[in-house]
């Protein structure tokens, strides 16, 4: 009995030594080109950060992989010796799951999906809190009471973002409207430009968007109108007109996940319930025109001068409100959520009752439109 125990211990010690000495080779599979300055670009920036940071880590990537061909590329990366593989598009979900079942000794992580396995985790950095904070600022800055929003596809992720943004707008400006135009593409600068021009012609004077290029920021700036950046820092595209925006830090998730693999916390056996849904509190997303610049100094005065009578905080400037709300959501003991009841949709239905928050499942399957949104809403319940 003793001998068995010793043997087990020896194996365990040797095993952990061997693991500590083992290098991790992580492969990244991207849906777009790394030069898109949007989604794939942000993942690749994060890959380079973790590659620099950990000397026990080697990374490789393949870009512009069609969603149906993900398994072929996983085979390729496994043959190259990758023991961790990240797939970064929703459409890679089923292919990644099939590969995870075929390669039980490789760790997989799939971004933005919901299917997991013993050796396959999921992860996502979501922006809805940040959109809400930008909505507060947008509501204070509009003069026409119309805010333009250029959106890629009518899917739950974007509906959640637009609704969170609109809830922020209405909190400081109860009569303002958010006009939405869909371009049905993640990346099409010409479509984004014409959609923005159409919104300008409708009288919108502040802009936000969810698509993968800095087009909206540039078009708004040409007309001297303020806007909010998305995904990558867009301050440099229009230093006088980018008020704030959403910035992602995928590296925070990659760092945590890879370190836990390295330390043996995550193995090929225990990932079935590992789902990163990282928000402000975990530092995976940031509000700002560029990292470290929460509000463009050119707009500080306007936001400080816009004072409202807030139901909770009384007389308060929007500038202060943004910081209070940010702290409420960024502190580990989160005390506020944009979808905190009561929340009504634009048809007048009560969607979140008083005192309730939305569950994770309700957030990721959200289809309704918050009150204040104007424009088509395909799939509206």
């Amino acid at each position: 009995m003793k001998r068995v125990l010793v043997a087990v211990l020896a194996v365990a010690v040797l095993g952990s030594l061997a693991l500590a000495a083992t290098k991790i080779k992580a492969g990244f599979i991207y849906v777009g080109p790394i030069g898109d300055y949007g989604w794939t670009h942000a993942h690749d920036v994060a890959r380079r950060i973790v590659d620099e940071k950990y000397d026990w880590l080697e990374t490789v990537y393949v870009e512009s992989v069609p969603e149906g061909e993900v398994e072929t590329y996983i085979d390729l990366l496994v043959r190259q010796g990758c023991n961790v593989i990240f797939t970064t598009s929703f459409g890679f979900m089923d292919g990644t799951l099939a590969a995870a079942q075929r390669y039980p000794d490789v760790i997989f992580a799939h971004c933005s999906g919901f299917k997991r396995w013993d050796n396959m985790a999921t992860y996502m950095a979501d922006f809805y809190q940040v959109y809400y904070l930008n909505g507060l600022m947008a509501g204070a800055l509009t003069k026409t009471g119309k805010i333009g929003y250029v959106a890629a596809f009518p899917i739950p992720e974007l509906k959640r973002h637009i609704s969170a943004f609109t809830i922020g707008v209405r909190e400081v400006n109860p009569k303002a409207e958010v006009h939405v135009r869909w371009i049905y593409e993640w990346y099409n600068p010409a479509a984004a430009k014409e959609a923005t021009e159409a919104l300008i012609a409708e009288g919108c004077d502040v802009f936000a968007f969810t698509e993968d290029s800095p087009t909206v920021v540039q078009v708004a700036a040409e007309k001297r109108l303020p806007s909010f950046g998305h995904y990558s820092p867009m301050y440099d595209f229009a230093p006088d007109y980018v008020v704030s925006g959403q910035i992602v830090h995928w590296d925070k998730i990659y760092e945590d996940f890879l370190l836990k693999i390295y330390k043996g916390v995550y193995t090929t056996k225990n990932l079935a319930h590992v789902d990163y849904w990282w928000l402000l509190a975990q530092g995976a997303v940031e509000v700002g025109a560029k990292p470290g610049m929460l509000i463009n100094p050119k707009y500080e005065a306007a936001l400080k001068n816009y004072v409202i009578n807030h139901p909770t905080f009384g007389k308060i400037s929007v500038y202060d409100l943004v910081y209070i709300r940010l702290n409420q959501m960024a502190d580990p003991g989160i005390t506020f959520d944009p979808f905190q009841g009561p929340v009504y949709d634009r048809k007048g239905n009560l969607r979140v009752p008083e005192g309730m928050w939305m569950s994770y499942d309700a957030l990721i399957t959200m289809e309704w439109a918050a009150a204040g949104i104007v424009g088509p809403w395909p799939g509206e319940p």
């Binding site: 049905y184 010409a190 021009e197 088509p376």
Partner: protein
């Protein structure tokens, strides 16, 4: 919303969006009039877009950037001409290859240029005097670059050249019946080379417009299918430079309206609208008596070999 604002924004956006389409289509019309299909427009445009951006960013002159964009488009077209005219490769395959090659090469060269705003862009003009005319002023003489007006003049000049001069006769006869043209002493190879390269020059400028004026930044794949719209517009315009004006701006207007009308109509339907019209025109062109079929150059897509029929 009063109707004048609708008219003004629709026409103004139609012009701005139609510019790269017009330049690309005028070039493709010349190549096809000489009998060479060049499906590489997308590749030539993206190379032009990258070159214009890189040169403008380095030197600070959008004019020089556009000139270099024309050059790189011309060189890419020269490769196509060599493959299809001299080596008599299949024009469709060579053109597709050129598109893919251009997209790939521009993406590779463009590494490190993404995410940088352009330091000096091609200026938007406000034409003195004319821009003050009510309705017409904001419609036609504001928020356009010089390429809008050059494009319009160019279309007229190219129409005159094609249909009212001996050179035009030479180009058209090479596209209609190269054997006869050859017998009449026209250098078929030279005419085809010149027309294809000229098409490349214009496609390069069209691409350059995208990166130094329309949306001054470089991102991989930023032409996003415009080159293919050009191919369709060439047929839509029935290989006629003047009709290319209407085609390009009609398409531009549809494109703008597909976002403007979203408040009233289902966005999925509107998104289809420009392509729906393209299909209608292509279908109409398929009927025997339609003008389009008569006007298509008879030797389009056929390599010329002296002594073969």
């Amino acid at each position: 919303m009063d109707w004048t604002s609708w008219v003004i924004s629709t026409v103004s956006r139609a012009l701005a969006f139609g510019v790269p389409l017009l330049w690309g289509t005028l070039g493709e019309i010349y190549a096809e009039r000489a009998g060479v299909v060049n499906l590489g427009v997308e590749g030539m445009m993206i190379l032009g877009a990258f070159m214009a951006f890189a040169v403008t960013q380095s030197v600070g002159s959008p004019g020089l950037g556009l000139f270099c964009a024309a050059m790189v488009g011309g060189v890419a077209a020269l490769v196509h001409a060599f493959l299809t005219v001299t080596l008599r490769a299949n024009q469709y395959v060579a053109g597709l290859a050129l598109s893919m090659f251009g997209l790939g090469l521009a993406g590779l060269l463009g590494r490190g240029w993404e995410g940088k705003p352009l330091s000096s862009t091609l200026p938007y003009l406000t034409v003195p005097g004319l821009s003050r005319i009510p309705v017409l002023g904001p419609m036609l003489f504001q928020d356009q670059t010089v390429l809008t007006y050059i494009g319009l003049v160019l279309a007229v000049l190219l129409w005159i050249l094609l249909f009212r001069t001996r050179w035009g006769v030479a180009i058209r006869s090479v596209g209609e019946n190269p054997a006869t043209a050859d017998a009449l002493g026209i250098n078929v190879t030279l005419v085809r080379y010149l027309c294809v390269v000229f098409g490349g020059l214009l496609a390069g400028v069209g691409g350059g417009y995208l990166s130094v004026a329309y949306r001054p930044a470089w991102t991989e794949g930023m032409t996003a299918g415009m080159g293919w719209i050009v191919i369709a517009l060439t047929i839509f315009a029935a290989w006629d430079p003047l009709q290319a004006i209407w085609g390009a701006f009609f398409f531009g207007a549809l494109y703008h309206l597909s976002y403007r009308l979203q408040a009233f109509l289902a966005p999925e339907l509107l998104k289809l609208m420009p392509y729906f019209f393209a299909v209608v025109v292509l279908a109409a062109s398929g009927f025997g008596r339609a003008r389009w079929r008569r006007r298509a150059p008879a030797a389009l897509g056929v390599p010329y070999v002296r002594g073969e029929r």
